[in-house]
């Protein structure tokens, strides 16, 4: 059984069909790419997966559980974390707090514990803290723990966003255009980072990306969609030479 099974997924916005009859099944431990022209519906698929939209039709089954009807924070609790196409950090909260707060789902105490500072509270906070610091160390962010994200360079913000998603200890990590806005050198770093995360934490990653360099060097399998429907899928090499993909998406580099 695959980790994520999406079947017959359709999403309509008014008259517009952003995703139509989309199917995918992502195996545990894989690193899969999702590409396609602008407006093809990639982000929409991510939004559906993370529960931000309720699908018009179709099913999303994660880890054997149909996520329909769950609120986003519940889905995240199941183990799906994501980043955003435009960075959405909590910009006026320190990097450390960003990573703490995103562990809400496993907090395990309630308001009264917070008021009374019960044992439960103290233990939970200690757990949250240690996870946060470990992660900061692992991702080379320790020095920035008390900085506000808005004061960090763009590349680091991306890294913090990924760290925040990782603090959920997800089984599946969705990355929406992680390389957008990064310069070439930073892109190299990113490729290394994602690869490392994939191996080190042994998690499943599904990512959207327009920079072919990133997709091709990371993904073992790629799915290409246009107008909300799959037009091609396969290994990077296969995709790169697929004429429909070239026509609809890759274009020719000659300027």
């Amino acid at each position: 059984m695959a980790l994520l099974e999406i079947s017959n997924l359709t999403q309509k916005f008014g008259g517009l069909q952003a995703v139509s009859d989309f199917n995918v099944s992502i195996e545990e431990g894989s690193l899969v790419g999702l590409i396609g022209p602008n407006g093809a519906g990639k982000t929409t698929i991510f939004n559906l997966t993370s529960g931000f939209y309720q699908p018009t039709e179709g099913h999303i089954v994660f880890n054997g559980r149909d996520t329909r009807g769950l609120r986003p924070h519940q889905i995240t609790g199941l183990g799906i974390a994501r980043t955003f196409q435009n960075i959405r950090l909590w910009h006026d909260m320190s990097v450390l707090d960003n990573i703490r707060v995103s562990q809400h789902y496993r907090m395990g105490y309630n308001v009264w514990d917070a008021f009374l500072r019960t044992r439960r509270y103290v233990e939970a906070e200690r757990g949250i803290d240690s996870i946060a610091w470990d992660l900061l160390d692992a991702m080379d962010l320790r020095d920035y723990a008390n900085e506000l994200p808005k004061n960090l360079p763009y590349g680091l913000q991306r890294r913090v966003e990924i760290a925040r998603a990782m603090s959920i200890r997800p089984k599946l990590l969705l990355l929406d255009e992680p390389a957008a806005g990064l310069n070439s050198a930073d892109v190299e770093d990113l490729i290394r980072l994602v690869g490392w995360i994939h191996r080190e934490f042994n998690i499943t990653i599904w990512m959207i990306e327009h920079q072919m360099k990133v997709v091709m060097s990371l993904c073992s399998e790629i799915k290409v969609i246009d107008f909300g429907a799959t037009i091609a899928e396969g290994t990077p090499d296969h995709i790169q030479s697929d004429p429909t993909v070239i026509k609809a998406y890759l274009g020719d580099e000659n300027i």
Binding site: T43, N47, F52, F84, Q85, N86, R88
Partner: protein, 308 residues
């Protein structure tokens, strides 16, 4: 039946004032996302300006020979003068209180609080300078009461309703049909990019305040004619309620403000006509709450779609 018709007229008149004030709220909001809490007080200032303008024209301050002008001529002069002078008040507030804050990049709500404070200054400044006695607005045009069976309508009531509709149409045209209107809507979404379109931001904002305050002045004049007792706090309550009306209509939307104003007028008059009037606020606000529950962004408001 006649009871009903009479009350419809009552509601139309009362709703017209809400609508007129709500339009001003919405206009400024639609541009700056600023809840201009001083708007109710600008309306009050408008009424006072109207008072002084007419008093001047009537010759009270030795402005003109007494009785030199007939009432309708005074009214015809008072309308543009009041609107112009009230605009100046609105623009002044914008210049000295709001703009510097905007320039400093203050949080939006600090501007809102400043607006609240400006309202208080206007109210109490008026009280301190003009004294606590109320002012009686003179009768400019002879009152005509038209009676149909049990239903009575005055010429003034009709004028008020017509004015509200006219102001609505004018504003709706400006905001939806003209480039300046597009610019006004654009500013609210992204102030940064407006100058990049070659649009002078400050002029658009000033223009908005001119429009909003000008029509608040008109509303003040009409209100003073309909309810001829002026006091410094006259704008506070009606201002708050008009703001609520504007939001229920969908704040930032001209149609919403217009409809919301009348809706509130009808609910208030309706409740007072059927129930003891003390229940008016309770029922009126409960109804509005239900409307917002049903449409969380008001009747015409479009939810800002969060793209993620």
């Amino acid at each position: 039946m006649e009871f009903l018709i009479q009350n419809i007229f009552n509601a139309l008149q009362w709703g017209s004032f809400y609508a007129l004030i709500a339009l001003g709220y919405t206009l400024v909001y639609g541009v700056l996302l600023l809840i201009n809490f001083a708007h109710g007080d600008i309306f009050m200032v408008g009424a006072y300006i109207a008072f002084f303008v007419t008093a001047f024209l009537l010759g009270d301050f030795g402005g003109m020979a007494s009785g030199a002008l007939p009432g309708w001529a005074i009214l015809a002069l008072a309308v543009p003068l009041t609107m112009a002078l009230t605009s100046c008040v609105g623009v002044t507030l914008e210049r000295i209180a709001y703009r510097p804050l905007r320039r400093k990049g203050a949080h939006r709500l600090y501007v809102v609080i400043t607006a609240l404070m400006c309202g208080l200054v206007l109210e109490n400044g008026n009280l301190a300078l003009l004294g606590a006695s109320r002012k009686k607005f003179p009768e400019l045009v002879d009152k005509a009461i038209w009676t149909f069976g049990e239903v009575s309508v005055t010429n003034l009531k009709v004028a008020v309703i017509v004015a509200a509709v006219a102001v609505f149409l004018i504003l709706q045209t400006i905001v939806t049909r003209t480039k300046i209107g597009m610019a006004m809507r654009g500013i609210s979404y992204d102030k940064f990019a407006i100058p990049l379109m070659g649009i002078p931001v400050d002029s658009i904002i000033v223009f908005t305040f001119v429009l909003g305050s000008g029509f608040a002045g008109l509303a003040g004049l009409l209100f003073a004619m309909s309810y001829p007792i002026l006091e410094p706090y006259m704008g506070a309550l009606i201002g708050w309620k008009a703001f609520i009306a504007a939001v229920v209509g969908g704040i930032g939307d001209i149609r919403g403000a217009f409809l919301g104003g009348f809706l509130l007028g009808f609910i208030e008059i309706g409740v007072a006509a059927v129930f003891p009037s003390t229940l008016r606020d309770l029922l009126a606000f409960s109804i509005l709450l239900v409307i917002l529950w049903w449409k969380p962004t008001g009747l015409f408001g479009v939810a800002k779609t969060t793209k993620i």
